[in-house]
């Protein structure tokens, strides 16, 4: 069976200094986000607008999708629809084959991660090169990204240097980030020139113009799309906004929330293919319409994948992206993943203290922590827990429902703790006690005190 979040997080925590480093790096980004968000007086208003625009779009999604399709086709873009990951992969593989291509560059797409496109193409003998620096690093290591915006944030530069030495032949022990980056750049330049086809993600698709927008800092999406003859854009159906005038709200929020930058270095609009070139767009559902149909979880489709909820999440910072064992980690991933596979991801809504910081940073005001709470109810209802947990919860409920039983149990528990602590203070059976002392058990409960002293 797949390892669960708690186990994987424990492994991550075994190296405490690494955990500290991960925590501090992401906290630093959260602080940059705070500074840039707090510099804009209308910040909270912007969040509200973004949330409202998304709510409106989602409740008219069929209309806007059709409008987008019409306009995109009129612009010369070829539009495809994919129900699920398998269809998405098959469509993309089909386009690659039609064009007789064997080398592909890819950039900025968590959706293709979600659909495991790389594995699919590899099986077909097609070489895919991820061109974002972070993505390329994890790809060379045969690992999934650990963060949607900062895919290699779990790695220190020493680690990257080792990987580059092994895979790209850079100097052993040279950890200089400038040296490493320029080595990656040279390596990627060659791939860009060789590539005949480029795949990118989509940040926003504009229904009334039929264009789509890709936001990057490295310019690699543009480089890929401009050099290759064919550009395939893979897009979740929730990425739509009604019209260009709404775009500014989101571009102001996106980079600030993600990294604290005022705007991404490149905000590229793709509308019409150049002469002799082709643009395809694949509109992917993969469980999204199922979320749309559930009021409790619909809001999660507002997500613009800025990653702010990751950076602020005290659990994510101390457990790392891989502990979430899904393409999209962090708080939002813990909402989206149970929708894709409830059984495999039933642990994720519990990988949270429900502190609510995620909902506060979210630029589109998704009630993330409330949705985590709601998933927990669904998971319990669908009996995704072991018998022991279900029984112990039943016993607890019985104890707490009866004042009399509650008092007796409380008294017994205090007695055991006072007189027979060894019974409870065992690290093997009591996870609390592993690294923490138990609270002291007083002789009297408050109620007992009150009955004697309270009503003088």
């Amino acid at each position: 069976m797949k390892k669960k979040h708690a186990e994987l997080a424990e492994v991550f925590n075994a190296d405490e200094s690494m955990t500290d480093w991960h925590d501090e790096t992401l906290w630093w980004i959260r602080q940059k986000r705070d500074r840039s968000a707090h510099n804009i007086p209308e910040w909270e208003q912007l969040r509200q607008w973004a949330s409202d625009i998304k709510a409106h779009t989602l409740s008219n999604l069929d209309y806007y999708l059709e409008e987008f399709e019409r306009n995109a086709i009129a612009n010369g873009i070829k539009v495809h629809w994919a129900r699920d990951a398998a269809e998405h992969n098959a469509i993309i593989a089909g386009i690659i084959r039609e064009n007789g291509v064997s080398r592909v560059v890819k950039s900025k797409s968590m959706l293709t991660e979600e659909c495991h496109l790389n594995d699919h193409l590899k099986d077909l003998g097609i070489e895919v090169v991820d061109t974002d620096l972070g993505e390329r690093i994890v790809q060379l290591r045969d690992e999934p990204p650990s963060h949607i915006v900062l895919p290699a944030i779990h790695l220190k530069k020493e680690e990257v240097s080792k990987t580059f030495h092994q895979k790209l032949g850079t100097e052993l022990g040279n950890h200089d980030p400038v040296y490493l980056t320029s080595a990656a750049r040279d390596h990627l330049r060659e791939r860009f020139i060789e590539a005949e086809l480029a795949i990118t993600g989509v940040n926003f698709a504009v229904a009334n113009t039929g264009e789509f927008v890709v936001c990057t800092n490295e310019g690699n999406a543009d480089m890929g799309a401009h050099l290759a003859k064919v550009h395939i854009a893979a897009m979740g159906i929730e990425k739509l906004i009604p019209s260009q005038k709404h775009l500014g709200v989101f571009t102001r929020l996106l980079a600030r929330s993600a990294t604290g930058q005022p705007i991404t270095a490149y905000t590229s609009h793709f509308r019409t293919p150049a002469r002799g070139r082709a643009i395809h767009i694949v509109l992917v559902d993969n469980g999204r319409s199922r979320l749309l149909g559930q009021e409790d979880f619909r809001n999660s489709l507002k997500c613009i994948r800025c990653g702010a909820c990751f950076n602020t999440c005290p659990v994510y910072r101390r457990s790392g992206g891989h502990s979430y064992h899904t393409a999209i980690a962090g708080p939002i991933g813990s909402i989206l993943s149970p929708n894709l596979d409830l059984k495999a991801n039933a642990d994720l809504p519990f990988a949270s203290t429900l502190c609510g910081s995620c909902s506060n940073v979210c630029p589109v005001k998704i009630n993330i922590h409330e949705q985590l709470w709601k998933w927990r109810q669904v998971i319990a209802d669908k009996k995704q827990f072991g018998l022991f947990k279900r029984l112990s919860m039943r016993v607890t409920a019985t104890v707490l429902s009866s004042p009399f039983v509650y008092r007796i149990t409380g008294r017994m528990a205090r007695w055991v703790l006072r007189n027979w602590p060894a019974m409870i203070n065992r690290k093997s059976i009591n996870p609390w006690y592993k690294q923490r002392e138990m609270p002291e058990a007083p002789k009297e409960s408050f109620r007992e005190w009150y009955v004697k002293n309270g009503q003088l």
Binding site: E44, T353, L354, C355, V361, T396, P431, R447
Partner: protein, 247 residues
């Protein structure tokens, strides 16, 4: 001031393990002129079950809660987390009007003191350096203080009250409102992360050389206390009611 009838809600684990917190809350409210009743058949708000996904099993707790607190003007508890649970999740059950009344008149202690009683001065003396821990459910859920994520003017109801205490020196940690990692059953099912979060929290207070860590939720404090004790630290934890009631 006309005397108002306040039902004191003592969360189950406070009743059993931290009676001094409930005593301090009771005395403080009485000192401030409230007519405090302590329903003797109260147990638990049901939050531990609901947060674990078993909200379907909380009917008994809820029925009992409503029966105990039906006749009061306000329900007050020294726990932001339990109050938030009742406010957000107490269903209407068989007595919709009673439930609505409870949901809209239940208060965490410090918000009751500042918003309802509008306390402006306290007879309290506590000559120590105190680190304040903002508990998430109180802070973000009930809005007891401003939150660092939001672009909003700064305020803090608990800090305002602590400011009325003579001799006290209050110190916020650098990460003002980061979660301590308690999180109900999270603290046992996600032991490793929970402990790491708690350790990071106390480290900041330790570097501020505080004598006491306080807050509005005993659950967080219990977790921090467990870690402090294991480390052999001299820092004590106290609920804010104990400090506000100290003379």
């Amino acid at each position: 001031m006309p005397s108002m009838k306040v039902g004191l809600f003592v969360p189950c684990y406070i009743d059993q393990f931290y009676p001094q917190v409930a005593i301090a809350t009771l005395q403080l409210l009485q000192k401030l002129g409230c007519d405090v009743v302590v329903p003797l058949e109260q147990t638990c708000c049901g939050q531990p079950l609901a947060n674990s996904g078993f909200s379907k099993l909380t009917k008994g707790c809820e029925k009992n809660f409503v029966a105990n607190f039906a006749g009061v003007d306000y329900v007050v508890a020294p726990s932001g987390s339990c109050v938030l649970h009742i406010k957000e999740h107490l269903p209407d059950g068989k007595s919709p009007s009673l439930s609505t009344h409870i949901r809209s008149t239940i208060y965490e202690l410090t918000e009751f003191l500042t918003d309802v009683l509008k306390v402006e001065k306290l007879e309290a003396y506590f000559p120590y350096k105190v680190g304040f821990h903002n508990s998430c459910h109180g802070q973000r859920g009930l809005g007891l203080s401003s939150m660092t994520e939001l672009n909003m003017p700064g305020f803090s109801k608990p800090a305002m009250l602590l400011g009325m205490v003579d001799g006290i020196q209050v110190q916020l940690p650098e990460r003002q409102d980061e979660c301590c990692g308690f999180g109900g059953t999270f603290c046992v099912f996600e032991e490793a992360v929970s402990v790491k979060m708690g350790k990071d929290r106390i480290r900041e207070h330790q570097s501020n050389e505080v004598d006491v860590i306080t807050g509005c939720d005993v659950s967080c404090l219990m977790h921090l206390e467990g870690l402090l004790k294991r480390q052999g630290s001299k820092i004590r934890v106290m609920h804010i009611a104990e400090i506000l009631n100290c003379q």
